[in-house]
Subunit: 363 residues, 2 copies
């Protein structure tokens, strides 16, 4: 172990960034602003590591208050630890259950602080071989006209893959998908995110219809708790299946690999940080799985971090890196822009938190 | 649906009760005080429903701050709902992930408020046929002498079943168990809680040794993530297995029933409230499983609520109702006492929160 500088304190800075419109994915799941938390690791030499934690009560059970609370709980054990003592840091970070986005952000802020303290940078160390990453946009459930208008705006902004949130109204969803196909033709690729809303009875026909409609794949068609049914649906080979809700953690991934429930793994740095995301990527790659890097509706900083993972070897699919197109403002000193379907990640190396923008967005 | 009074507000009151000694169950898991949260549901007619939420960062990822945060998050949707509209209340309570003790306490406080508003009481409605419940005490990991001294104190206080926390030092654990057997003989029944610390290689011999040492059963010998290995260990029939960590939720229970991993279900009102606990009890009973009611190191109010579940038909095993013996003070107006191994639950009907004791314990 290299000897480094020690952790002085942790900090949680809540901020609020208004959205263009809303993001909805269920009766109790909608956002009209990104109300996230900047997780900061301060070292004794003044180094500041930072990352974004997006509280999602309906998905991960976190709130702004829970992120502040778990950081305060962990701070007692972190203060005084050497930033290079990754084994000790991981033991503390892993000492609490759940709190995935808080712990994911903590991991990324620790990486950021560690590399800066060494005179390195996240971009210098983590930028992988595929520096241009194909970007996808998540189209939330809304009235068909609203969805189409948002799709137009996003395609005009340079994105060429849309993940369409679908739900219990399967007929309406297929109409929206047909309208999107008619609008964009081959220029835009589409896939569906069912968010566990299908049933074992309905899923086979629904997946056939999605395949016939030209969708690339479908994310989480069945409830995660139906392990055997998910295994059987994937074995039926109708449409590639993307694992998201079923693979929140490395332990989840092992179970899903054992039961053979998916074709493509959606890895989210927002919930797994760099350490677990890289481990999950290596594991999925070794098992011959496709991989995409997903977003938890991240603002700019979270997008930079996800994009760095998106450049790694083994990432085979478009990555959810364009949520910033839904933000009316951001914390970064420069915008994140898309061209011809791609995000040029290498060009983002100079992007950083602008303290004045943060001051304006703090709550 | 009967029309009732509406919810006016939710309240979270943190309090602190010092312990006799410590409770430890791992490197990052130890308590020197019960720092819990009184969850309150206020109705428009002034009715007050109350229950105890014990934050356990290492088990459920909750902190005092997260319990306050999730109640504040849910309050917006609860206010104005009719206390008799259980479908609407359950939809809101189920709209967030995790937060098990906050949501469990919320459920029990809703029951308390609903029954009071009807002119009924929890004891009037929930007291089951087995009004005397055999009580067990959880003996935390400590130096053998400390464990033996605590066991003596607890047995003198009327408890006749000890759940002994065991860990990675299997030889030392067996020595402690032998010392307890030598001390108490047939007067005291013993079982073990491995808290997922064994491995598939070591577990068969460890369970054989536990059986030979006279233990009744063992709780969670293997890591929960090792589903197939747990299935195989139970199929080997060495010692009855108690499910705890593997059955945090009704959905978990369904998976465990499908894979046949356990003999006895440990249901904890602290994490499942009354609604889910009763459903899990019915489900386990229908599947021919034994059932115990467990404690999350509850103080008096949580113990009353767990004890009410302990009186139900279908509860076959001793219940973890004696953590109050480890508290130096409590919030209740009268002590909870044990005699000849039993807790007389019917005798607790007049126990209630003492507002002066609460004022003294508030933080």
């Amino acid at each position: 172990m290299t000897s480094g500088t020690k952790i002085a304190r942790l900090e949680a800075v809540p901020y609020r960034l208004p959205l263009h419109g809303e993001l909805a994915w269920g009766a109790h799941s909608r956002l009209s602003a990104a109300e996230h938390v900047l997780v900061r690791v301060h070292l004794e030499d003044g180094t500041l590591g930072q990352a974004e934690a997006p509280p999602r009560p309906t998905i991960y059970g976190e709130t702004v208050a829970s992120i502040q609370g778990i950081l305060a709980h962990l701070e007692r054990q972190f203060v005084g630890l050497d930033i290079e003592d990754t084994a000790a840091l991981e033991a503390v970070r892993g000492s609490v259950a759940h709190n995935l986005t808080a712990r994911g952000a903590l991991d990324m802020a620790l990486w950021d602080a560690r590399l800066q303290a060494r005179g390195q940078s996240l971009f210098g160390v983590l930028l992988g071989p595929n520096t241009r990453v194909r970007a996808s946009f998540i189209l939330g459930i809304a009235a068909p006209g609203v969805m189409l208008a948002e799709a137009r705006r996003v395609v005009e902004s340079g994105v060429r893959v849309l993940k369409v949130k679908v739900g219990r109204d399967h007929r309406r969803d297929l109409e929206v998908i047909a309208a999107l196909s008619a609008e964009f033709g081959d220029e835009v690729a589409l896939y569906a995110d069912s968010n566990e809303t299908l049933t074992p009875d309905l899923a086979p026909a629904a997946l056939d219809a999605m395949r016939d409609a030209g969708l690339m794949y479908v994310e989480e068609p069945l409830p995660v708790r139906l392990l055997r049914e998910r295994q059987a649906l994937r074995a039926s080979g109708r449409l590639p299946i993307v694992a998201d809700d079923s693979c929140f953690t490395p332990a989840d991934l092992e179970r899903e690999l054992e039961f053979g429930t998916f074709d493509i793994l959606n890895i989210k740095t927002a919930r797994n940080g760099f350490t677990d995301s890289l481990a999950m990527l290596a594991r999925a790659q070794a098992c011959g799985k496709g991989v995409m890097i997903g977003s938890q509706a991240s603002s700019g900083l979270g997008t930079l971090h996800a994009a760095l993972l998106g450049t790694q070897a083994g990432v085979t699919e478009p990555c959810e890196l364009s949520f910033v197109l839904k933000l009316r403002s951001d914390l970064l000193n420069a915008p994140i822009e898309f061209k011809d379907g791609y995000l040029d990640v290498a060009a983002l190396a100079g992007h950083r938190i602008d303290e004045e923008l943060l001051l304006a967005a703090r709550v």
